[in-house]
Symmetry: C2
Subunit: 485 residues, 2 copies
């Protein structure tokens, strides 16, 4: 039947040289496997900047991602994470230009901003040095033979088809995974993709044209150093127009603007709104007027010209959630967005994908190197955590866009902070949900949710007790009053 | 960019020459549109029987399907439906070989058994005569340009790629629709496919080897005639081993067997079970023993030899539900299983697909021939009905496999039958759900569900009233008793 040329490789074939695919390639290579990594895109080294797919919402690396990188190779992790910018909290911007900082961690823990394309290039660099065979311009056409030796067929630039044979195959080719689609043809995989009614439009806040005073520069540099990030931050090539130590949010309920710092002093900003909002603007004038009315401080920093060109030229992205199960079929598995694309509102998409790699490698070790067995175990054991984080990501839009300015939310946050920080002195173990998800790589996502549910029940108990106390006190005072009459 | 040969057709391009695709082609051709119909399979006329894809669970045509066929062309409908075998009810087989008939309709209405491959061939024959251009061996590769003139690219047998341009494009290429997959690339379509833990294995009950007595033959022939089916039924080429006027069911809760009659005196039978059941049989002996224990009468009719060969050779099918929304994008739309594959337990898959065609054509007429507008309106207005029937199909497994032998269910069925048949004499409008779905093409699926919900509320009210009455009566009698003491 198969008359295509067959290039027989043993070892591991990985499809998708994005963040998760690269880390998986590194992980297997470090363990001594022969690894081949394929991507449909061109080698980024052969492209100039304008040709690159600069997909963003800047990424926020947090503990799970860092632990996963380190689990593969400590030194590689240091090199890759050299240029992250720590953010210790959210900076909430109101309509009048007022700001309020809300710290993320109990003890100054930070999440870390990094440019997606830059991080990808760092990882590709590591992959090349790890002696992984990398094939760019290879577009996956079919995945077959998963129950014996997986055969991957690609079409190459010249229109030629090439077929490779591997011991095991891994799909890490993103939310619209062709690998997953091909796997589905030979197995019973339940699958759903759900678009949410929300677009994102990427915007840009440039660095300060020049340093206004030397003090500013030093202050910003100090912030970055004091956050304890490894690496060299002295080469700040620009100056930030806002505090780079925060993830900036302009929460406006139905829509919101966010901004994350870049190394060059700029911010990558993203405008999220329902499609009907952005589509209601008939001209760039209306768009700019909307920005002046809702995000005056940001509009000033971005400049009207930029907003006008972004309105006309920047692509509007859609947001999708992918869920499927199982993730494996015999000698193949999907990981990262291919298995569980989530909306970006918890900043965990990449962190979770990296964690997939760590958990998978640990599972292989537990299975004494029986990779097929490990694929099956990973699929079963990872399921609940992946469902949990996808749900958290979906729910967190409400938190970011609305709750962060609600008095009740702020009260709960203070309560969390207080109990989380000082509770252990009085024997109370309390962990804010955000801390568990972003700063505690040792707590699985599903356990974070169940712990949070328990804490919520306790809180409701406390509220009821407080209410009962006040009510009882009131009744007593009333009785006293009547007695005295 | 596009350097492929472009074969410019105007008119309607339809992908998938299955049941729904053929009917859609006929419907548009009758209205005077230029229609091209594509299928990846070979022309069935060029294949011998062993090469044909004889996918089955025999189909049951009911009112919606018949109405849709007639809405396209009354005479065509008569020709196509010539060889259906009416089934007036379910025949429930218990483990001891006992049988009980449960009629479907209030007034003897029937659903009608027909072989899928045969029906498809009839429709293809009609398509050819309707002067539709039919392209077999055309495998869809891409769907583009939906917002101006849809371009469909196919690969043909020789490996050549051909691109066609149409005014409008319709995907009717089944549950694993490539057309849908291609559409998804250029739009935000939410989508889910859900496998249920259930396999099906096709079995076969042969005709009687020869007529045992002439009386039997006449009785069977009479049954078919008295059901008022058009066409020639005198050429019964065989004899049935069971009553052909019923859909036979062996309900055993976790698993079940069904059988539908064929024109040649045989029955196509299907064994449904969770995967773990069929996979638990290590040998054909165990499989046959299971059949003797659970379906002794059917086993006798099938013969051990057939069961053994079916166990080893017949493919085991999986059952999947597909849901997506919206169904349209600019000048393209998906219909039938491509848009809403359902599990087979309500016998409505094909009927619903045919109804798609009727509703779509009516919507085009309402939109004064603006097809793009009609696609959008169809998608919106058809949504609730499609969700409703998919849910009913899923729920009906429990009814077929378990409830049909439950006393409560049978009581409810009698109540339904009585009120449905005689209620109108006392001003009560009552319609059993099965009647609304299968015999009332004028009631949309979603309305059938809402009517049934209302009826269930009334039933619960009646139950409560009965209970209160009995209780009150008991209390009165108790009081009387105490008074007398």
């Amino acid at each position: 039947m198969d008359q295509e040329p067959l290039d027989t490789h043993t070892g591991i074939g990985i499809v998708g040289a994005g963040l998760v695919g690269c880390l998986a390639a590194l992980a297997f290579a470090k363990k001594g496997y022969v690894v081949s990594l394929f991507d449909m895109r061109a080698d980024p080294r052969t492209l100039d900047r304008s040709q690159k797919n600069l997909r963003s919402i800047n990424l926020a690396v947090s503990d799970r991602g860092i632990r996963a990188l380190k689990s593969v190779d400590e030194e590689m992790a240091s090199r890759v994470l050299e240029h992250i910018i720590p953010m210790k909290g959210r900076m909430i911007h109101d309509r009048d230009g007022g700001c309020e900082s809300q710290v993320y961690g109990l003890f100054g823990e930070c999440i870390n901003s990094i440019d997606r394309a830059y991080l990808n290039e760092c990882l590709l660099q590591e992959v090349r040095q790890a002696d992984v065979r990398v094939f760019f311009d290879h577009k996956l056409k079919s995945v077959r033979n998963l129950d014996s030796l997986p055969m991957l067929t690609f079409s190459t630039l010249g229109g030629e088809e090439k077929t490779f044979e591997f011991d095991y195959a891994i799909g890490a080719d993103g939310a619209f995974s062709q690998f997953r689609y091909q796997m589905q043809r030979s197995m019973r995989m339940s699958f759903s993709q759900q678009f949410i009614d929300m677009q994102y439009l990427e915007l840009y806040i440039p660095p300060k044209p020049q340093a206004t005073c030397e003090a500013d520069k030093v202050e910003i540099r100090d912030h970055i150093h004091s956050s304890g990030t490894p690496g060299d931050h002295d080469e700040l090539s620009g100056q930030f127009q806002m505090d780079p130590g925060h993830l900036h949010i302009w929460p406006r309920h139905d829509y919101m603007l966010i901004a994350l710092p870049n190394k060059d002093g700029s911010f990558t900003s993203t405008f999220f709104s329902p499609w009907k909002v952005i589509e209601s603007f008939k001209t760039d004038d209306e768009f700019v007027a909307f920005f002046w009315a809702n995000f005056p401080d940001a509009t000033k920093l971005m400049g009207e010209e930029h907003l006008r060109s972004a309105y006309h030229e920047n692509p509007r992205g859609s947001l999708m959630q992918v869920d499927c199960f199982p993730y494996n079929n015999h000698r193949a598995i999907i990981i990262g967005d291919a298995a569980h694309a989530m909306v970006p509102f918890y900043g965990q998409g990449m962190n979770c994908g990296f964690e997939d790699v760590r958990v998978l490698m640990e599972t292989i070790q537990q299975c004494s190197g029986d990779i097929q067995d490990a694929f099956a175990k990973f699929s079963e054991s990872r399921r609940d955590d992946l469902v949990a984080i996808c749900q958290l990501a979906m729910d967190n839009y409400t938190e970011m866009s609305s709750k962060v300015v609600s008095p009740l939310y702020l009260m709960r946050k203070k309560f969390d902070y207080f109990l989380g920080k000082y509770g252990h002195y009085v024997g109370v173990s309390w962990l804010p949900l955000y801390t568990m998800v972003s700063f505690r790589h040792d707590i699985p996502y599903s356990q974070a949710i169940s712990t949070e549910r328990r804490q919520q029940r306790i809180l409701r108990g406390v509220q009821t007790a407080c209410f009962a106390g006040f009510f009882g006190y009131g009744v007593l005072r009333a009785l006293e009053y009547w007695n005295r009459r």
